[in-house]
């Protein structure tokens, strides 16, 4: 009797052992290697790096393996690891105009300098299960062509030359860092972008989708979507100049949005911006749409009360690690609080019934 809460220690240990066994699955099936996950589940790896805010494909692959493919759990593992890492400094801003593009498309112009470059996309595949993959995985080699190393210019800059799109002036202010400072309102655009890039893909997608369906519609055109690798450079004080410390793959999306003009601005196009680690284009496009919706105030637009316009709503609920933690914590024991509610409900019921009896007697 009264054993319900006893034995916590052993129960936890046994649960962990069972979990490890379940993770491995049938031992007669070959174990997954980190390399296999990194190479063959690379979009999952990308998502974990983006929302985990840590660019390390091997660690992301390890996290996916350890979490049994639960990507939010994997993101959590990466976040918890990331927070223990010492910070040596910060890189210079990456220059996406210098990106070595694997993919680069514009939905606003039929052809643009640098060309439309489809790259490895699902876009025009027919979504038919490929049963051949179930039997053998080998694929044909994709054809290659030589490219020149010249940088591909940003499409939006062509609009800018005509003054048709708002200026995005160069700004060297150090952006705030929400991993080192508590998120406080009002949040400026760099902070909002930082929260969105590590926000939950599903949440950001749904917020963006809601703007398309009319909740603060801002009709976005994909001015440009580019995916490729950029150099990361860092100033080394001892050397007195910046050196390249590595390369990362990024997805960048710039949207061109309608704007009717306001009291201070003539009619022109406006911008939304998305930038995410890895090949993560759904997320980058979503981010650009939500970024644009959140800019209503600085552009002098009306607040129509749409969720995607509400920075406090979007930013406080975009983080899936916070969300999943708080949601799942209701599994923890709450019997003390529940007990006090039981007492209260019994008391209120007792009084309500007594009142009824008294009324009936009258």
């Amino acid at each position: 009797m009264y054993v319900a809460v006893k034995g916590g220690e052993r129960a936890i240990e046994n649960a962990h052992t069972w979990l490890a066994e379940e993770r491995r699955g049938d031992t007669s099936v070959a174990e997954l290697s980190i390399e296999q996950i990194r190479e063959q589940l690379s979009l999952a790896v990308n998502r974990v790096m983006a929302e985990g805010s840590l660019y390390d494909p091997d660690l992301a692959a390890l996290a996916i393996k350890q979490s049994r493919g639960d990507l939010i759990e994997a993101i959590f593992l990466i976040r918890a690891y990331r927070t223990t890492l010492p910070r040596f400094g910060s890189s210079n801003p990456v220059n996406t105009a210098e990106m070595a593009c694997d993919r680069r498309i514009s939905a606003t112009f039929k052809d643009v300098p640098g060309g439309q470059l489809l790259g490895p996309t699902f876009d025009y595949t027919h979504r038919l299960l490929d049963f051949k993959l179930a039997a053998e995985g080998e694929t044909a080699e994709a054809p290659n062509r030589d490219t020149d190393a010249t940088a591909i210019p940003h499409v939006i800059d062509f609009l800018n030359a005509e003054g048709l799109i708002e200026e995005a002036p160069h700004d060297d202010t150090t952006p705030p860092d929400l991993t080192r400072e508590p998120l406080e309102m009002p949040a400026d655009r760099p902070l909002r972008l930082q929260a969105l890039t590590r926000g939950d893909e599903g949440f950001v997608l749904s917020m963006a989708y809601s703007t398309q369906r009319g909740y603060a519609r801002n009709h976005a055109f994909v001015g440009e979507l580019r995916i490729g690798s950029v150099a990361v450079e860092m100033d080394i004080p001892e050397l007195g100049f910046a050196i390249e410390i590595g390369e990362i793959t990024l997805t960048e999306c710039e949207t061109v949005n309608q704007f009717k003009g306001s009291k201070s601005e003539p009619p022109q196009f406006t911008r939304g911006y998305g930038l995410v680690f890895g090949q993560t284009e759904r997320k980058a496009i979503s981010m650009a749409l939500v970024d644009r919706a959140l800019r209503w105030e600085e552009l002098g637009e009306d607040n129509v009360g749409a969720p995607a316009q509400d920075a406090e709503f979007v930013l406080y609920h975009a983080d899936n690690i916070q969300a999943t933690g708080f949601l799942e914590h209701i599994k923890l024991p709450h019997y003390v609080d529940f007990q006090s509610e039981l007492e209260l409900v019994r008391k209120l019921r007792r009084e309500a019934m007594a009142d009824n009896v008294a009324e009936a007697a009258e």
């Binding site: 319900a4 809460v5 918890a80 990331r82 508590p182 690690i321 914590h329 003390v336 007492e343």
Partner: protein
């Protein structure tokens, strides 16, 4: 076993310093919610990451640490947090309230009165007492700074007019030193009187919401009420089935398929001590 790969109590010293600054600010302005740059911990938000960070910042190698959840030392999450600090800080742990120098708690204040040599660390899910009246942080911070607490009184009054009672039984709001309205964390209102004039330092950590607040020793803490509806720290009208105590907060346990109930102390240390001293309840073996 202490693991050498992590800093003492897991967090690096810079982070601990940042948290200590927030704690000191909180102690200087009792009941005020201090924003702090909460870190991702190796346990999920909602599992006590705020309390864990506060404990990590105040623990020293000489401390003796106790963790309770729902008043009990052996609930799964209390076990998990205790073993976390055993691993990362190597501090001595205890289940005896009077032996502990730092006590981390979820949802209860120990029955045994605390002393000046103790720190009580609360895990807090929603630090903002006005949150369910006003969802916007930007608004509630304004309300605190203007001392605009009318909304809270209206809510309590509406409870009385609808139900005849204030229908809040846990996380019952308090006023600290006649200034800030504070959420005492989801402790049952039975525990509210223990917040007042307590000799121990009381620290509150909300990890996900990135807030720390504090009550220095002997702070005046009043549960909100009305003259004609005074605060009532109720509990189940039963003695403990194991130790017979009439004083302690009780959990209700369903003991058989017929739905029969037994009431036992939620504070396991208190209950075991009483049983060891020879007190017996109706169901004692």
């Amino acid at each position: 076993m202490m693991q050498d790969t992590y800093n003492f109590a897991y967090l690096d010293e810079q982070t601990k310093r940042m948290i200590r600054r927030a704690i000191l600010k909180g102690l200087a302005i009792p009941g005020y919610q201090v924003p702090f740059a909460s870190r991702e911990m190796p346990m999920p938000y909602g599992w006590g990451t705020g309390g864990v960070q506060v404990s990590a910042a105040v623990l020293t190698p000489e401390d003796r640490f106790k963790v309770i959840d729902q008043g009990a030392d052996d609930t799964t999450n209390a076990v998990s947090i205790r073993s976390f600090f055993e691993r990362t800080a190597g501090v001595e742990t205890t289940t005896a309230t009077e032996d502990a120098t730092v006590i981390q708690t979820r949802h209860r204040i120990p029955e045994q009165p605390l002393t000046e040599d103790q720190i009580l660390v609360y895990q807090v899910p929603i630090p903002e007492p006005l949150r369910f009246l006003e969802p916007r942080e930007s608004e509630t911070r304004k309300m605190h700074s203007l001392e605009e607490y009318g909304l809270m009184h209206v809510k309590l009054y509406e409870d009385i007019s609808r139900h005849g009672h204030i229908a809040t039984s846990y996380a019952y709001p308090v006023r600290v030193e006649a200034r800030y309205v504070m959420d005492p964390s989801p402790i049952p209102k039975f525990d509210n009187p223990k917040l007042d004039d307590n000799p121990a330092i009381q620290l509150f950590g909300a990890g996900r919401e990135q807030r720390i607040y504090a009550l220095p020793p002997y702070t005046k803490v009043i549960s909100l009420d009305f003259d004609d509806h005074p605060f009532d720290p109720s509990k189940a009208d039963q003695p403990c089935g194991l130790c017979g105590s009439n004083e302690s907060y009780l959990d209700e346990i369903i003991v058989d398929d017929a739905g029969n109930r037994m009431f036992v102390c939620s504070d396991t240390d208190y209950c075991e001590k009483r049983q060891a001293a020879g007190h017996k309840g109706k169901f004692a073996a």
